[in-house]
Symmetry: C2
Subunit: 296 residues, 2 copies
């Protein structure tokens, strides 16, 4: 009887530990799931802001001088590509980190059922044990009724042992699976994040070139030329055609320089365009709007 | 008179364009500033979630078997380091992207003042012009009064020309600075982001190892041993000391294997500890709590 009592104590302790293990995982996996979900949501919000940035850079680029426009457009395109990767990051984290953690809700439920079944079998065993003792006290000489109570206790004991063994196995599998899942979930998290960061480095390298390639001087000339109305320019062209020295012109030397340089650029670009109003901005504004529409 | 009219038209057109350029920058730099600030805020929110994750992983790790505990702790420490870099990213973006864009509020205000001064000078010139014409009509023969009006017009014209030239210069500088600033702001943005992404790759590489190094089997044995109460174990020890075959023991073969392996581990670790209750968890739980407190 002492050994049985100690055996039951050991078993109860084991069940208690199993229950605590399950409760601990329930608590912490639940927390982890929520915080990871929050992390994914914040990443999605960052992507939203970046999308707004892409749109605004395109809108601003459309109003700018050609080099700045091209540089900003290229940057926005690269940055937009990065947001597609961020979207993939969000979806992957959702599928490979948040979902598996969420699944633990169901797993925990099943384990709790196993625990409950074990406790039920144990209680039945304990009930049969006290019943046997009561029978022995009340009818110490009735071998038949005592034998019946003994065999019922034996059945209950076997059942309790069976469910206990099943619980041991199921908790063992649970623990094994849990360690595997934790390793897997965190490895997935790291891999997904690294994939994104790697892409980011790649994309920003290209985006950096787009910005570095912006020719400040060329754009400045375009801007200066846009400040001079067409008739002012054509008058200057006549002046220039008459081969007068630039010093004879009345505008400030600074602007003169600008105009001369622009003329050089224009000639380089298209020698036939001389009569036309020089306005880069209108030239590809429609094209710009169309390409913005096509994106995303 | 016609040439003067056309000249004034050209000048007005130039001022209109300058005003439009300033308004355009005001609009788009304002938008960019707001969206970049939002992007930085969302990055800070992501850092907050990641900080929560660090805390929760530490809390969970403290309840786990030794290998899992160590792996998760190491991961959390690396991930926490990454959040320090994210914090640096946030501060840098604030200083090198948002602030410079915000500064354009003041710059725009100054340019608007220049524009206003020019318009005031122009209006005065126009007023003097119509005054001269009125004077000529009313007193066509009064050379003195006409001369006075003419010289007043001349003075107003000179002033208008001077402020116009100043406006041209200031708008030219504004445009030059703007292109430079845009290039600079976007280059800074890219550089700051790349720095963070580079660090992230570095840190995740170390973090990945922490997770991969978690020895699943060793932890499983520790878990199994924790399910067996000390007296159960000591009884098994007696059985083992008596050199009986493992087959004579009553527990399932699966758990036997576990216990045998744990005993091996125990011996390897410390041969003198044989009498103590084997519980890895309690062993370094206090140490764990202390180190958690020290962090961040």
């Amino acid at each position: 009887m002492l050994m049985l009592g100690r055996g039951l104590d050991a078993r109860d302790n084991q069940t208690k530990q199993a229950r605590e293990a399950v409760t601990n995982v329930e608590k912490h996996f639940g927390e982890l799931c929520q915080i990871f979900a929050g992390y994914v949501r914040k990443t999605a919000r960052l992507r939203d802001k970046a999308d707004l940035l892409v749109n605004e850079i395109h809108a601003y680029a459309a109003t700018e001088t050609p080099n700045l426009k091209l540089g900003l457009k290229n940057f926005a395109n690269e940055f937009s590509k990065l947001q597609d990767y961020r979207q993939a990051e969000v979806e992957r984290l959702e599928a490979k980190v948040v979902e598996p953690l969420k699944c633990y809700g169901t797993i925990i439920k099943l384990k709790r059922e196993d625990l409950k079944a074990t406790l039920t079998a144990r209680n039945r065993e304990a009930k049969q044990l006290s019943q046997l003792e009561r029978t022995r006290q009340r009818n110490p000489s009735d071998r038949h009724i005592i034998f019946k109570a003994e065999s019922e206790l034996q059945r209950a004991s076997l059942d309790a042992t069976r469910t206990t063994r099943h619980l041991e196995e199921t908790i063992d599998n649970f623990e094994k699976q849990k360690i595997k899942d934790i390793k897997n979930i965190f490895s997935e998290f790291i891999t997904i994040e690294m994939l994104f960061h790697g892409k980011a480095l790649e994309i920003y390298t290209a985006a950096f070139q787009s910005i570095q390639n912006i020719d400040e001087n060329e754009d400045l000339q375009v801007f200066r030329s846009s400040l001079y109305p067409p008739d002012h320019q054509s008058r200057l062209d006549i002046v220039r055609a008459n081969s007068k020295s630039p010093l004879q012109r009345t505008s400030s030397s600074k602007h003169c320089t600008g105009i001369v340089q622009i003329s050089r650029n224009r000639l380089k670009k298209d020698e036939e365009e001389d009569d036309e109003d020089y306005d880069y901005e209108d030239e590809d504004e429609d094209e710009e709007l169309e390409s913005t529409k096509d994106e995303r």
